[in-house]
Structure formats: structure tokens, C-alpha cells
């Protein structure tokens, strides 16, 4: 009979193996995006001062 702690450990290992490459890809993409934006002289987005909108949605707060 398999111990539950063994199953959890196996699941953790599986998650680590699958997630680590994805995170590496994310970091590479971030670098690529930043370098591309630097090379093309991308400016910060200007927000109209009278900008307001209905803000319902899946957002976060502090």
C-alpha cells in the first residue's frame, strides 16, 4: 500500500520538474521583451488625466 506522504512527495517532484522550465521560459521572455522595448525606444504609456472607467473585474488590492 502506498504511503500518502510518498504520493505528496511524488506530486511535488512532478510539479517542480514541470514548472521549472516554464519559469525559465518566462524569464527569457521577460528579457526578450525588455531588450526589444529598449531597442525600439518604447515609451511609458500616457494615461489621460480624465481617465476613469468602470473597474469591475478580477483585480487585486492591497
Amino acid at each position: 500500500m502506498t504511503d500518502m506522504s510518498d504520493v505528496r512527495l511524488w506530486l511535488l517532484r512532478f510539479r517542480a520538474i514541470t514548472v521549472a522550465p516554464l519559469l525559465l521560459v518566462l524569464v527569457i521572455l521577460s528579457w526578450g521583451r525588455a531588450l526589444l522595448a529598449l531597442a525600439t525606444g518604447k515609451r511609458l504609456r500616457q494615461i489621460p488625466v480624465d481617465f476613469y472607467e468602470n473597474t469591475s473585474g478580477s483585480s487585486r488590492t492591497i
Partner: protein
Amino acid sequence: MKILLAAPVQFDRITLFISDYFTGLARSLGKLGHVTRLVRTTENIYNPFVPNILINDFSVLRRYLKKIVDAPHDLLLMKQLLVEVEAFQPDLLLLHLFDTCYVSRIIPKIRAKGTKVFVWLGQHPSQVSSGIHDLLKVSDRTLYYDTSYQEYYARVLGIDNLCVLPLGCDVDHFDTIAPDLEYQTRNGVDVCFAGLFDPYREQYLMALSDFNLGIWSWNIGDFDTPLKKFHRGNAYGDDLVRIYKSAKIVLNIHRSFERNGGNYRLFEIPASGAFQMVDDKPGLSEYFTAGKELVTFSDETDLRNKVAYFLENESERSSIASAGHERVRRDHTLVQRMEYLLRSIERRS
């Protein structure tokens, strides 16, 4: 005066409190006749490439390899901020960042161009990274809202460029928002709480579990709490104002570290014309008269008793709510906050 505001003003994943607040500040500066520009910064904690299922893993990665993971975002932001300052040539840069590793390094360059750099921090300094601390240290002024944070700034961080800038509210905008009858029927509750859920706030909310309670919170799902049955979703911006306006009593419970008091809700609730009950803090009397413009509670029993009393006494509730609304309009608008800030610059210069 030319004023550049740079903040993570986004109305999607990022904090909408900050977005509303900074947009309001920019609009207030415009009303005061200043040439104002608001630009949106990007923040690595909300890296657009990170899908929701990887947010927690990405946070762990940032915790251990922050200097590498944050570098691309920060390098880009540093360059972009410099470009904006060179293009706009502001007298004042009002900056707010959630997190950064390296942005502090360009602040001396910006100051050397004759631009004053004020950094605003909307939370306790212990809650932010060392990169933000570095940013505060090299800026002209650190703007914060709760005077009880001063000790931490001075003793732990050695920061003395402090300026208390109380929060406020764009009352004119709040007055334009009106929930219709159907909205009020759907969302109206006797007691409403909106905000981040934590164990400190949970103890107060638990005391009201036999009332018609409504909780709007993005993170209550992370807790094992019987209060989930009162959860009605998230609410931000205009929706939040509609929810306040639909409730009989709106609760304001400060975070445990906000020892002096004076959070966003303190002003937003009366600005909505809603009746506020707030946990008693020593600094509240600087902004409102307890018992006349809002009602304070000292503990869970006091909260229960007062909620029961004010649910029965509609006219008293309504007169306190009106007085609170008048007080915000008279003394706590964002225009007044910006006037105060700019006067403080003139006084020092």
C-alpha cells in the same frame, strides 16, 4: 508647475485602489492649474507573461533570484523614466512603485536635472522590498499616510526625508456614481466590508456572522473561514462606490500595522455618502469627529452592539453619513491634499 506622475495605473490585474488614487491625484493637480502628465509604470510582480496558474511559482522564483528576474523590467523602466523626464522636463516627479530592485540608481540623475523626486508609499514600509527602501532613501521626499510609520522609517531604515500626506478622496467623482434600484436590491446588505481579508479583520467580521453581512474581497478564498458564505465577489473603483452606497453600514477595519489610522476607506466610505463604522485609532480625530461624522468601535462586542443599534436607528445613521460626506468634501479632497503638498515644497524652498 510641471508635474509628472508615474505609477502602476492599470485597470486590469493591478491594484485598482492605486489606479483610482493616482488618477485622482493627477486630475486634482490639473484642477489646480498645473501642467500634469500621468504615465503608467510596469511592475514585475505583475509580469504580463505570467499566467495565473504560475503566479505563486513566479513569486517564489522572484524571492530567491530577484536581482536576475527583476533586471529586465527595471532596466526598461529606468530608461523609460529618464526618457519621460527628458521629454516633459517636470519640476516634480511623483513616483509610486510596488516593487523594484534597481530604479533607485537613476533617481540622482533625475534630481541632477532639477526635478524634485517624491516617492509615495501607500503601505507600511516593512511590507515592501529593500529596493523600494533604496528608492526612498535617494528621493527628495518620502510621502506616507500613517504617522505611526515614522518610527520604522527613522529607526529601522534611517530615512528622514519624510512628509505625511494623508489620503483623501475625489468626492466630485464619487457623487456622480449612483446605483440603480436593481443594483441596490441585488447588492444591498445591512453590513458591508470590502477589502483584503486577513485574520485580524476576520475576528471582527466573525462577530457579525448572524447579521446580514456582505464581504467583497479578492483573497478570502485563500482562508479556511466560515465567513466565505458571506462572500459576494470582488469590488473596485466605481463598483465599490455603488456597493458602499447600497449598504446600510459600511465597515472599515484597519490593517494591524496601521496603528494611527487613516486608510483609503476612511475617506472613501463617507465620500460615497455611506455610514461608516471604523475600528478606533488615535489618529482618526485629526480627520473626523467620532459619533458625529462616523462611529468607532473598540472591540468585537462594541461592534456588535453598535451595529445592532444603528440598524434600528435609520435617521441617526443617515445624519452621521451626511455629516461625514460634508466633512470629506470640506477637508479631505485630493485637491486639498495636493495643495498641501505643493505648499510644503514652497515652504522648504
